[in-house]
């Protein structure tokens, strides 16, 4: 409230600006809160989304990679098993014992067809190739190259299986068509540091070699395998089984790749023109992490043309060298779209919330500002002099309290204005009457001296006729009246200084009553005085206060019929205006005719009198009030028609208060 009042004072007439600023502050507050809530929920939401959706996706990809690895190993075992079963056949062993190459090739071809092998052959214990499937079935003795698959078996006499990288010479010797299939040109990022050449000529194979025994005698080694270069079976099986052929926006969700080194040699990752992305390379980070350090990689990665959630693992050959990588990736778009959708829903909710906040702020601000605007208008009306400003319907809460306080304040201002106006009029009147009275008195007294002197001197003569004497007597009486009026005027106008001295108020009242007792006795009115006890000592001008008392008692006497009574009593009293100020209240109560309420206000005005012409000057109470006010006291009247009146004269203890001396 205080700040509002300050704003109002500073802005003056520009009340609307203030209200708009209050409104925008409120709206800004609402907006701020909703923004904060939105930001926090967005942050937390995105975190949860990332953790759950992407975490889930990453887990899935890891599991998929495990499944693919398992399929890869199964393929290896499958080759080994096929070879092993073949070596156990009696006919096969006897054919080999007899070195019946033609018969053996037939058997090998049947086996290769069943086990889906790209190459197969038999190596004798001396390392030379006896026969193989394909166009070059019967090599000349001594012309065959060292067989990297069969060699470990010849040395160790136990079966061997796994991944191998076969160089192009071996492949040409084995089958020129295979060598041709293995050739894959590098398309992207030819890195000379890795390997020389513009194309991959080696072939990566999954293969096995099994010893063939005749009794305890090793008579040869059966080998066979599958070339992975350009092979579609493994990766497409993965797509069909692990990912179940799922597509998203026309693209496969799941992709799988076999790397030879860092180049894709078997993949279902597609290029833009729908070709398999053979010969393309993995990013240096992945290469370093997986090939270099032999670790698992699970993260999002940009694969060829799209973002994927990926997993890579190294492939080791039968001698434990890291020769390639196995990769599985899930299209990130699917998850990214879920994320994007959720985000847009979030943002939509946030925007809606903010709009709601602005609307709500506007409404609330209006609800608050409308009564305040009315109050501002009302205060402007008051400023323009109106004491009945429009405040509008009563509100609840603080605004209601403000309205009530405002109304009370305006009422107080009105009362104060009325009082001060009355006070100003009164004192102006008194001052002008005083100046007039002083002038008149001074001018009249000199001629009056003449009138009095001459009439009295005439009355001294003894030779006057009785009617002349009577007329002169009338002049004397009339002049006496004039004299009294002028004296009253003078008393009223005189702003004589007080001559205060410590006074026992009860004694002063007693002596005043004594001066009028005779008149009361003559009229048949009893005057009783009940002095109060332990009154504070007053410091007053005794003669002036006495004249006040006499004036009021004589007024009471005039108002009271014979047989009536006047009671005077004194009591210690507190001021009703200055809280806590001690003083004495003198009460003069009569059983007279009472004063009509319309006259109560005028009672203390100069020249106001209800007495018959010639009975009173109309100055007595005006003079009395002046004297009491100069003492810092007050006079109150209560009256009831037919029952009587009470005059209360309150005088402060210890003399006049400092702050009242200026008003004197």
């Amino acid at each position: 409230m205080t700040s509002l009042a300050l704003i109002l004072r500073r802005e003056g007439g520009g009340g609307f600006f203030v209200l708009y600023s209050t409104r925008s502050k409120l709206i800004a507050g609402f907006l701020g809160v909703s923004l904060l809530v939105a930001a926090v929920s967005l942050f937390i939401g995105v975190r949860i989304l990332d953790q759950h959706v992407f975490g889930e996706a990453r887990n899935r990809v890891r599991q998929d990679l495990n499944a693919v690895s398992e399929m890869y190993l199964t393929r290896v075992r499958h080759i080994k098993t096929s070879l092993s079963i073949t070596t156990l056949g009696f006919a096969f062993i006897s054919s080999l014992r007899e070195k019946n190459a033609a018969e053996l090739v037939l058997r090998l071809e049947r086996m290769a067809k069943l086990a889906d092998l790209d190459f197969a052959g038999i190596v004798l214990e001396d390392g030379g190739t006896l026969c193989r499937i394909g166009p070059n079935s019967f090599p000349a003795a001594g012309a065959s190259l060292e067989n990297p698959i069969a060699r470990p078996v010849l040395d160790s006499r136990i079966p061997v299986s796994g991944t191998l990288v076969l160089d192009s010479d071996f492949l040409i010797a084995e089958n020129p068509y295979l060598a041709e299939r293995a050739r894959i040109p590098f398309t992207v990022g030819d890195d000379p540091a890795l390997r020389s050449g513009k194309e991959e000529k080696s072939g990566m194979v999954v293969a096995a070699a099994v010893p063939v025994f005749d009794g305890n005698l090793l008579i040869g080694v059966l080998y066979g395998g599958m070339l992975l270069n350009r092979s579609e079976t493994l990766v497409d099986t993965v797509r069909g089984t692990v990912f179940q052929g799922e597509t998203y926006k026309g693209r496969s969700v799941g992709t799988a790749t076999i790397f030879l080194g860092d180049a894709r040699i078997s993949t279902n990752v597609m290029t833009a023109d729908g070709q398999r992305a053979l010969g393309t390379r993995v990013s240096p980070e992945v290469r370093e992490h997986v090939l270099g350090k032999g670790k698992l990689w699970t993260d999002r990665a940009f694969v060829f043309s799209d973002w994927y959630i990926t997993a890579y693992r190294p492939i080791e050959d039968i001698s434990g060298q890291r020769v390639g990588m196995l990769y599985v990736g899930v299209l990130e778009d699917k998850y990214e779209d879920i994320r994007r959708e959720t985000l847009s829903v979030y943002i939509l909710i946030t925007v809606a919330g903010m709009l709601l906040a602005v609307g709500l702020g506007y409404l609330v601000a209006n609800r608050i500002s409308a009564p305040i605007r009315r109050l501002i208008n009302a205060s402007q009306q008051v400023g323009e002099g109106s004491l009945t400003p429009e405040l509008g319907p009563p509100e609840k809460g603080e605004i209601g309290v403000l309205q009530k306080t405002f109304r009370e304040m305006v009422a107080a201002v009105g009362r104060q204005r009325a009082t001060s106006e009355a006070h100003i009029i009164h004192s102006q009147k008194q001052a002008s009457v005083g100046r007039l009275a002083a002038g008149v008195a001074h001018e009249i007294n000199n001629p009056l001296t003449g009138v009095l002197t001459y009439t009295h001197m005439l009355l001294r003569r003894t030779d006057l006729a009785p009617e002349i004497r009577s007329d002169l007597q009338t002049i004397v009486e009339a002049t006496d009246r004039v004299r009294k009026i002028v004296k009253g005027l003078l008393d009223f106008s005189r702003q004589t200084k007080l001559d205060p001295e410590p006074t026992d108020i009860n004694r002063l009242v007693t002596s005043s009553i004594a001066l009028v007792e005779y008149q009361a006795l003559v009229k048949g009115v009893a005057i009783k005085f009940n002095p109060g006890e332990s009154l504070p000592e007053l410091i007053v001008d005794r003669s002036q206060i006495q004249s006040v008392l006499i004036n009021i008692i004589i007024n009471a006497l005039d108002a009271t019929d014979p047989g009536g009574a006047i009671r005077v009593f004194t009591a210690a009293g507190l001021s009703s205006r200055d809280v806590g100020r001690k003083g004495v209240e003198i009460t003069v109560a009569d059983t007279g005719c009472g004063i009509p309420s319309e006259n109560l206000d005028k009672l203390f005005e100069p020249f106001f009198t209800t007495k018959a012409i010639g009975q009173g000057t109309g100055l007595g109470l005006a003079v009395s009030l002046g004297i009491v006010q100069r003492h810092g006291g007050r006079i109150r009247v209560q009256s009831e028609i037919g029952k009587g009146s009470r005059f209360f004269i309150w005088l402060p203890a210890g003399g006049k208060a400092e702050h009242e001396s200026a008003g004197g």
Binding site: A438, A441, H442, I444, N445, N446, P447, L448, T449, G450, V451, L452, T453, Y454, H456, M457, R460, T479, R483, L490, R494, T496, K497, D499
Partner: protein, 134 residues
């Protein structure tokens, strides 16, 4: 006994002359302080009746002059507009008493007589003192 009445109002002078002459005094009047000072030089009055407020030089000035030149001359001060302060000032300047205008012949006569009586008493006491000195 010579009485000098000083007032700027002729009607007051006439009234006072009438009353005091009837009482058997030899009455002289002055319309201003200057006239009064001249009359005092010539006639040496035994009593002064002086108005306080007069144009030009006022009664207070006259009283100071009299106190200087003729101390012991009783002065009665009169005024049509008396405040407590003027009365006090007048008494401090040596006025015997104060009488408020308007007054009746009896009031004036009584005031003058009582002033002269108390003055007589003082002088008699003075004479007695002088007498006992013999």
């Amino acid at each position: 006994m010579k009485v000098l009445v000083v007032d700027d109002e002729p009607i007051v002078l006439k009234s006072c002359r009438m009353v005091l002459a009837a009482e058997g005094f030899e009455v002289m009047t002055a319309g201003s302080v200057a006239e009064a000072l001249a009359a005092i030089e010539v006639h040496a009055p035994g009593l002064l009746l002086v108005d306080v407020k007069m144009p030009m030089l006022d009664g207070m000035y006259l009283m100071r002059q009299v106190r200087e030149k003729r101390p012991g001359t009783p002065i009665i001060v009169m005024s049509g507009y008396s405040t407590r302060e003027t009365i006090r000032e007048a008494l401090e300047l040596g006025a015997a008493t104060f009488i408020a205008k308007p007054f009746t012949p009896d009031e004036l006569a009584d005031t003058v007589r009582s002033v002269l009586k108390s003055r007589e008493k003082e002088e008699k006491g003075y004479e007695d003192e002088k007498g006992s000195g013999h």
